[in-house]
């Protein structure tokens, strides 16, 4: 099984920081995710949106990295949302109960606008 190195791009839209995750989310993605989180929150955003549209394989270590982001977001009271998850990974987010704390939207517009509301668990 081959893996794709993770890259995380940060852009801003309507006061919201969008972190676009590209590649596989595993232990090797930690530094890319940390740097993206720092860049996204340097100037306090209204919310952070994680885009999984271009992400690939996510293993349990990758899920743990997302938990780390959630913890940081909660500590700084920044709402965090996600979109672009496949049905498979939506289920994984439900099993791991990340979905209790993160609004999962269908597309970027909905995620940026926070149409589904934010969750605090």
């Amino acid at each position: 099984m081959t893996t794709r190195e993770a890259v995380a791009h940060v852009r801003r839209r309507d006061g919201v920081a969008v972190i676009e995750l590209v590649g596989d989310l595993n232990a090797a993605a930690e530094s890319a995710l940390d740097e993206a989180w720092t860049a996204a929150t340097n100037t306090r955003p209204d919310a952070v949106v994680l885009s999984f549209e271009n992400s690939g394989y996510i293993n349990s270590t990758g899920i743990a990295l997302v938990v780390g982001l959630l913890a940081s977001a909660r500590a700084h009271r920044i709402p965090i949302r996600a979109y672009g998850l496949t049905d498979h990974y939506r289920k994984i987010f439900e099993i791991t109960r990340l979905a209790d704390f993160m609004a999962i939207e269908n597309d970027e517009d909905s995620a940026v606008q926070g149409i589904g509301g934010d969750k605090d668990g």
């Binding site: 081959t2 190195e5 596989d24 293993n59 743990a64 780390g68 913890a71 500590a75």
Partner: protein, 264 residues
Amino acid sequence: MTNGSNDDTPAGSNDDMPAAATRDAANWAKKVSRLKVSQVPEGAVNLNVDGRQLTSPIQGFGKMWQKTYVVRLPSDRVAPADLIATWRKDFGDFWPPGNHFYAPLTGIEPGDVALLNMRMPGGTKLSTGVMVLYADEESFTLMTPQGHMFAGWITFSASRQDDATVVQTQVLMRASDPIFELALMMGGHRQEDRFWSQTLGNVAAHFGHPGAAVDTKVVCVDRRRQWSRWRNVWHSSAIRSAIYMLEAPVRGVRGLTHHQRPAH
């Protein structure tokens, strides 16, 4: 799983995403609303597991910690996949004495529920369990139910780095409730560090490298306690295990009278 980027796939391309999204389906547990223990191995106490929901590190009460324990073995001793296969098969055998992990006979597979009977200070026993959240050739992850000492998961992995097979246990957790948080502060963290260091030491010894040094790295991911979660204490496996032990004489008497009662 092979590490390293695939040169055929440019960064940013999502051409192989459907394959990526489904290739690990068998590695993850199926969604369950509540845990169900299908078999209780001989000697195991099935308490505080049936009917419980899983808890991620976010559902806990205490500070969030990431604890990483690492031991390095010469790569010619064992390959990562072989090490993980053995670890999954005989997981409980590597635990320090006095603690029991009752895995299914088939070993650790995604979705399996295992019972734990742990030795606690003062000679008490704590009964709880875990579910296998994820398992592949080079890693596996256990997730805790309500009432466990901590809310979170533990990932066990092995990887090749230079000339070493690096074996790692990583715990991402919050104490489940105020009582467990207090216990962690009063020596519980040290006890847990010792537990996983001994376990990794036992794994290293099994593969012919006794006395290997285990490195420990502890990071506080979130210093805030989640006071809204204090009610988790209702499910506390410590309290319920203690009550279960205290009730043992009553159960014994009831069992005797039940056996002695003549059939009508």
